[in-house]
């Protein structure tokens, strides 16, 4: 390092010292700079820390014992309010969820990424991509995730993904919301429909449906025709609605479309005896049905409303959704720290274990993990402190109407003190609570530092 530094040796240093150096010479050994000198170096920092950080800690504690305006002493009343106020209780609950879930998820992902990237050639690209969100603001990240979580699957990529995965496993229904006319011979059963009459082999049945636009019918559909008589149980399912009006309700008029792909079941004594699907003209036939009386059922899968994804920004999912965006931001941090920890593990220890016949799982659990534990603790503690103070993400991502449901302590503190209520007594007591919550981390830091010094 020193060798690389141009201008380090030689002319520079002597220039300004002059006579003072001679006077200082006896006590100017390194590490023994004189007290009054050091004061000049320290003063700006100590002054700022004292006025803007230390004094506020004390003042906040005092202020929390006074009322909203700071006029009269109220003792611990603000703390009493804090733990009975439903809004604060919700934010404490949410903070608890955050503190438990977010650090563990982030650290686990970071560990997985760090371990797996040891294997791949493009590790640096991967790490760069995952680490990148660390550089951007919570506000920008919040806007990014407001977009991701848009409710409309044509807008928000989260719902677009959820809907397409859902539709792989469950066909979207062909005729959401369709149903019979009131006077028709179908009655509503469990989301689907069942004929009120019974039919036998040789009967022909026409089932008319309405309730959705002809334009939504599959382009394969052709106009329906009266079901031909036959020696099976057969019929037709058609759209009992003609474009441009006209046509008679309950009868198959010209150009009224058959409804392809409708599942029709023949039900006897409550069990499905046969099931078939309508063709392009809406016709269906039950071949080989035994004699007897059957009711015809159109099960509910025909009419299910299309799945439109999850309400990410609604009251129920808002906290997990915001935690998701937090994970997106911080996983890179955990990954980089853990990767550095892995890199510092001596190869010898791993090789020795392998030579002794340990399996890879054993090596990981018995050698790697214990050696990595200090790093994992540092990552977890850092994340816990950070999560306790989370504010921006919640404020940006949660729409106004669900801020109450999404609130966390830091947000509650802002809302109470500055966001309209202007109760700085209660706000101060919330600050004190936050401060108390980070105290263990403070002790952890100091202990860690002292251990490293000794």
């Amino acid at each position: 390092m020193a060798e690389d530094e141009p201008g380090l040796h030689g002319e520079g240093q002597v220039a300004t010292a002059g006579g003072a150096a001679a006077v200082n010479a006896p006590d100017s050994q390194p590490g023994l700079g004189r007290s009054w000198w050091s004061l000049a170096y320290l003063l700006p920092a100590l002054f700022l820390l004292a006025v803007v950080v230390l004094y506020p800690i004390l003042y906040t504690i005092v202020r929390s014992l006074f009322d909203a305006n700071g006029d009269s002493f109220v003792g611990l009343e603000n703390y009493g309010d804090m733990f009975t106020d439903p809004a604060t209780l919700i934010s404490i609950r949410n903070n608890a969820i955050w503190v438990v879930v977010a650090p563990i998820v982030v650290t686990t992902l970071g560990l997985i990424f760090a371990v797996l990237t040891e294997r791949i050639r493009w590790a640096s690209v991967f790490k760069l991509l995952v680490f990148m969100p660390m550089a951007i603001s919570f506000v920008a990240a919040g806007i990014i995730f407001r977009l991701v979580y848009q409710a409309d699957p044509d807008q928000g990529v989260a719902n677009a993904l959820v809907v397409s995965v859902h539709d792989i496993f469950a066909d979207s229904s062909a005729y959401p919301g369709a149903g019979p006319r009131e006077e028709a011979e179908l009655s509503s059963v469990d989301g689907g429909f069942e004929s009120t009459a019974t039919y036998g082999v040789g009967d022909s049945v026409a089932l008319g449906l309405v309730g959705f636009a002809p334009g939504d019918v599959s382009p394969d559909a052709v106009p329906a025709s009266e079901p031909a008589a036959g020696d099976a149980l057969q019929g037709v399912v058609w759209l009992d609605f003609a474009v441009g009006g006209g046509g008679e309700e309950g009868s198959i008029d010209n150009d009224e479309l058959g409804l392809p792909g409708v599942v029709v079941q023949a039900v006897q004594d409550g069990t499905v005896a046969a099931s078939t699907e309508t063709g392009a003209d809406g016709a269906f036939v039950f071949e080989g049905l035994a004699d007897g009386d059957y009711t015809l059922a159109l099960p509910r899968d025909n009419f299910r409303e299309p799945f439109n994804g999850l309400d990410w920004l609604g009251p129920a999912l808002i906290t997990p959704a915001i935690i998701g965006s937090y994970v997106w931001i911080w996983a890179g941090f955990a990954m980089v720290l853990i990767a550095a920890g892995l890199a510092a593990i001596p190869r010898d220890a791993l090789e020795a274990a392998r030579v002794d016949g340990a399996t890879e799982t054993q090596v990981f659990r018995r050698v790697t993990m214990p050696l990595l534990a200090p790093v994992l603790v540092v990552v977890l503690v850092t994340l816990v402190i950070n999560v306790l103070k989370v504010f921006d993400l919640v404020y940006i991502i949660a729409p106004g109407s669900v801020q109450d449901d999404a609130s966390v302590l830091a947000l509650q503190m802002y809302r109470v003190s500055f966001g309209g209520a202007d109760d700085q007594g209660l706000g101060s007591s919330l600050s004190v609570l936050l401060f108390l919550l980070v105290l263990p981390a403070m002790a952890f830091n100091i202990r860690r530092f002292r251990r490293e010094q000794s």
């Binding site: 050091s38 820390l49 950080v53 004094y55 510092a344 921006d392 003190s417 490293e452």
Partner: protein, 305 residues
């Protein structure tokens, strides 16, 4: 990990290099050689896509005109023609946005310089000067690392009110410097302390004053740590929202506060929000990509903040 805080330059750079790259054979490679590396490759590709898509979504949305926003941004793959820079040219004529961008610069630059200056002076004193209570005061500084800014909001707001700087840029800057100092002193002091004693001794033998030693020996040698600190502080202040929200008046609000004010009508404001957010994050990203190494070093040294 624990060693990285103590030793300056070389080991940290080495760790940083390994942390952000340099594949090595390890546990995973053994697992992979049994299960076939293909699975890991595919998994990580999926993760990489998963991590990139949200940001791409913002970027593409920022290029799509309002009239086209009826369909998902990913349809640009089918019709790239719908992309245009109109939103960005509109931004330039949006005085509020341009003003808030300038405010962000006006807040960020002095806050960064201030922390570097005040922090390095103090760090030098803690590392190489002898004074009463040095170790205890330094422990207090370490303790202050984790103090939530929330604690400072109400008292400092009152203080600023009395001083008449509430709502002004200097108020915001002073708050940023003060809350940046514990990290700055912690990071720099550890680095400075690792400078070989001989170098300082030699300089003192040559008759150099403390100031000369600080300026000609410690600062140049401490440059990697100072760079890390400057980048961190820059990003921290550039990205700050809460402090500006409380202490910056409407006329001096930075970009983050301006953007937040637009999120109330999220759907309608997307023409401003998406390009504005992109503008707000492109600067940190440029800084990040240009100085990755320092950024990672700072992350390694300064965790537990």
């Amino acid at each position: 990990m624990t060693t990285t805080m103590e030793r300056p330059s070389v080991p940290q750079e080495e760790l940083a290099r390994q942390a952000l790259g340099a594949p090595r054979r390890g546990v995973a490679s053994r697992i992979a050689s049994r299960t076939g590396g293909g699975f890991i490759q595919v998994f990580l590709v999926l993760i990489a896509i998963f991590w990139t898509v949200p940001a791409i979504g913002l970027f593409v949305s920022s290029l799509v005109g309002a009239q086209d926003s009826g369909s998902g941004w990913w349809t640009f793959l089918l019709e790239p023609a719908q992309l245009s820079l109109d939103n960005y040219s509109n931004l330039l004529s949006n005085d509020d946005l341009v003003g808030s961008f300038l405010n962000t610069v006006l807040i960020t630059v002095p806050s960064t310089l201030g922390v570097v200056l005040v922090g390095s002076l103090a760090a030098y004193a803690f590392a190489w000067m002898q004074f009463w209570g040095r170790d205890w005061i330094f422990l207090i500084v370490i303790g202050l690392l984790v103090v939530p800014v929330q604690v400072g909001l109400i008292p400092v707001a009152e203080l600023y009110g009395q001083l008449g700087i509430f709502g002004s840029i200097p108020g915001v800057v002073i708050f940023h410097i003060a809350f940046g100092l514990p990290f700055a002193i912690f990071l720099l002091r550890n680095f400075f302390a690792g400078i070989p004693r001989d170098l300082l001794e030699a300089a003192r033998m040559d008759g150099a004053s403390e100031w000369t030693i600080f300026r000609r020996v410690v600062l140049p040698l401490g440059l990697p740590a100072i760079a890390s600190l400057a980048i961190f502080q820059f990003l921290w202040v550039w990205n700050d929202f809460l402090i500006a929200l409380v202490f910056a008046g409407r006329d001096v609000q930075p970009l983050t506060v301006f953007l937040q004010s637009q999120t109330r009508q999220f759907g309608e404001s997307i023409d401003v929000l998406a390009p504005g957010a992109f503008l707000s994050l492109i600067v940190p990203l440029i800084v990040f990509f240009s100085f990755q190494r320092y950024f990672v070093q700072g992350t390694l040294a300064g965790s537990v903040k």
